[in-house]
């Protein structure tokens, strides 16, 4: 029995070994033969290059879209063969960390913004200054530029808009929000909507790092000074922003406390028809379209003294140790910015390509709800990108923790930001 067990264990370990070494598995094997022929025909004697590309974004529904994109790419560049590997988000970053440190990283791969910052500062990413970036949206591009070096290309993008429940606005007799609204207008509307019933709330904006750095920017604040050499977390502008967010919960209570939420998610609260407004990502559209049995629409997110809109993007990067950098750059540039790939991305309803080409982007507008989809693009005029520093994850954890302490009433907004400033200074060394 024990022996049988031991054998089983060994067998499973051997399997593990195979799986670890199995990253070379070809997904696109079928395309090899025709491509070589075409390659000879089109580009003379150019040698065929095989590169590996690893991503998480296609997992859970868009693997076929990605494959279709690759087939199109391969028609255009028959001498480049891409072996695509799609890994689920939850396993992706531990796997990638192991592979990078083990020297078996793919030639090019995808990173989210949190991990991008860490990878870029640790010298494992290649300089992409040679890439043709003419088709890209500049703000998106700048998110992956660290101290003047382009380490990543924006593979996609999404932003945040204010989504509102039209029915609740009608019931409360409040005019629908416009692009010119500020948080003061929101506060007035939220109070009227909250007054509709005990279980109805005006707005929900989570007290987290992600929400905060954007609202701070709307009041002219920021988390770091301009050359990123010092934290400015407890600046007067930031305190004003945090105070506004926390007062909504503790003072006017137009936003529910954690206890009032009762373990419910904010999207669920909106879909249950009990929430007036929610600033959230455009990735909520599909869920809300099927989940809401009331009318809803969007506007550009209101601001404080100025406008600032979230921008989220995943970076496509090239492994610094790769010996096929050129081919890898060709592939990720094409994937992220060619009109063909962009069109396929939009047609599949995957996400938005971070490109300038408005003709392609316009096809996105035709899908409703929301009615006012143009707000998605109007938001692009005031994008803010998260501050890219080496210890990004730690900074964001510290700030989120302090803000939620303030939201529970344990400490004041000012104390929260003072403590966050202190802790970040103690734990993080900026360059």
């Amino acid at each position: 029995m024990k022996k049988a067990l031991a054998t089983l264990l060994i067998a499973s370990m051997a399997l593990g070994l195979v799986a670890c070494g199995g990253t070379e598995t070809k997904q696109q094997g079928g395309n090899d033969t025709p491509s070589t022929e075409q390659g000879v025909a089109n580009k003379g004697t150019e040698e065929e290059v095989t590169i590996t590309y690893c991503n998480f974004n296609a997992s859970g529904g868009n693997e076929e879209t990605l494959n279709a994109m690759y087939e199109k790419f391969h028609e255009e560049y028959p001498n480049i063969v891409v072996e695509i590997e799609t890994v689920a988000y939850n396993d992706y970053f531990t796997a990638m960390q192991t592979r990078v440190s083990g020297g078996t990283a793919p030639d090019c791969y995808e990173l989210n913004i949190e991990n991008f910052a860490a990878y870029a500062s640790k010298g494992v990413l290649a300089d992409l200054s040679n890439a043709d970036t003419s088709n890209f949206n500049e703000t998106a591009l700048s998110a992956f530029n660290v101290d003047g070096t382009q380490y990543g290309l924006p593979g996609n993008f999404s932003n945040v808009v204010l989504i509102y429940n039209k029915d609740l606005f009608d019931q409360a007799g409040v005019d629908y929000p416009t692009n010119d609204w500020t948080w003061n207008d929101v506060q007035i509307a939220a109070e009227k909507i909250s007054a509709l019933g005990e279980d109805i709330y005006g707005i929900y904006a989570p007290l987290t790092y992600n929400e905060f750095f954007k609202v701070a920017a709307q009041y002219g604040g920021s988390l770091l000074n301009e050359d990123k050499t010092a934290f400015t977390i407890n600046s007067p502008e930031n305190i004003r922003a945090a105070q506004m967010m926390i007062d909504r919960v503790l003072v006017s209570n137009v936003q529910p406390t954690t206890e009032q939420m009762g373990g419910m998610g904010d999207w669920d609260l909106f879909q249950s028809g009990r929430l007036g407004m929610i600033p959230t990502g455009i990735w909520a559209f599909n869920t809300f379209t099927t989940g809401c049995d009331f009318e809803w629409d969007i506007v550009v997110e209101p601001g404080g003294t100025t406008k600032a809109t979230h921008f989220f993007s995943n970076a496509l990067v090239v492994n610094a140790d790769s010996d096929k950098k050129e081919a890898a750059i060709t592939w990720i540039t094409w994937l992220a910015s060619s009109p063909e790939a962009a069109q396929m991305r939009i047609d599949a309803g995957w996400d938005l390509p971070a490109i300038k080409d408005e003709a392609v982007l316009n096809t996105y507008l035709t899908v409703t709800p929301p009615e006012n989809k143009a707000a998605v693009f109007e938001s692009l005029d005031s994008l803010v990108v998260p501050p890219v520093i080496e210890d990004y994850a730690m900074m964001s954890d510290i700030i989120t923790m302090k803000l939620s302490e303030a939201a529970s009433g344990k400490i004041s907004a000012e104390e929260a930001l003072n403590q966050a400033q202190e802790e970040c200074e103690a734990a993080i060394t900026l360059k």
């Binding site: 060994i10 370990m13 960390q97 440190s101 494992v124 206890e259 009762g262 373990g263 994850a393 939620s404």
Partner: protein
């Protein structure tokens, strides 16, 4: 004679070797090597991303800095406090629950087998699934737990959303999941008790209560001892339920050792620091287990 014995022992080892080597290789590659390497890594500021070679350790060598930083900071002690809070709640609860199960299942009645299986099912459930279920069970407004309390006229706490009640919530889930496991060990301990002891007790006129405390409990102490060591080690390695149910929150109230190790290693890219953390955890568990081993003579009765 001793020579002969030694020789035959050697022969047996030779025979066993081919069977052992494969699993040995697995042990060495997947357990021994990483353990040894992590000692060296704990003396570096390696970030877990740069390619790992022998040189890495020299290039990033920082001596005992990681250990000093951890022990002189407040976080380690706070997190250790959370673990102790968990232990204080978890150990008594899990023992009462699993002893109850063991006593119930020790009766020879119809359907006992079915119940034995039922109580063991949580043990076999993956922590991910179990944590998700418990997250729902403990949801303050919509969870079944608070609804049952409401029927009894008690207004339930915020559980995982409350700094005070989050850890007890995790304890509840852990007790539910582990009681079948420890129950099974205690049951085997109960069944190993010689029935003549009970007969003697009955003849002497002992009632059920006295029999339990004077006969059953002392004779089952070896099983209890084993369970106690296992439970304590498990408690210090508390992780999946925390990671899924609260992610260390709210406001860091359920941050525990392994959760910190994971966060530092894979989220903050401080692999050296995380390695030092895990060696400190090892020392704590090792010392506590040694103390338990020493103390066992005082209360564990092995039937001779």
């Amino acid at each position: 004679m001793s020579k002969q014995k030694k020789k035959s022992g050697k022969n047996k080892l030779l025979q066993a070797l081919p069977f052992m080597i494969p699993s040995f290789i697995g042990m060495i590659v997947f357990s021994f090597f990483p353990v040894v390497i992590s000692i060296f890594l704990s003396l570096t500021d390696w970030n877990g991303l740069e390619k790992l070679t022998v040189n890495t350790i020299f290039e990033h060598f920082v001596g005992l800095e990681n250990y000093i930083k951890i022990l002189s900071g407040s976080e380690f002690w706070r997190v250790l406090g959370h673990t102790l809070y968990y232990i204080v709640l978890y150990i008594p609860l899990v023992f009462v629950a699993s002893m109850g199960i063991a006593l119930l299942l020790n009766k020879k009645k119809k359907g006992t087998m079915v119940f034995r299986v039922m109580y063991y099912i949580p043990v076999l459930t993956s922590w991910v699934a179990a944590s998700l279920i418990w997250k729902w069970v403990l949801s303050p407004k919509y969870g079944i737990f608070n609804q049952i309390l409401a029927i009894l006229g008690i207004s339930g706490p915020g559980w995982l959303t409350s700094e005070v009640w989050a850890m007890p919530g995790i304890v509840l889930a852990s007790v539910w999941k582990d009681m079948g496991f420890f129950g099974l060990f205690l049951l085997s301990g109960l069944q190993a008790i010689d029935p003549t002891y009970y007969e003697a007790a009955r003849v002497d006129g002992a009632n059920k209560f006295v029999t339990f405390f004077k006969v059953t409990l002392p004779l089952v102490t070896p099983s209890i001892f084993f369970c106690l060591i296992m439970a304590l080690i498990n408690a210090f390695q508390l992780f999946p339920q925390v990671q899924i149910m609260t992610e260390g929150g709210p406001n860091g109230a359920t941050q525990v050792m392994v959760e910190r190790i994971y966060t530092y290693g894979f989220s903050y890219f401080k692999m050296g620091y995380a390695s030092a953390y895990s060696w400190l955890l090892f020392v704590i568990i090792f010392v506590l287990t040694m103390i338990q081993m020493r103390l066992q003579n005082g209360w564990v009765h092995y039937e001779s």
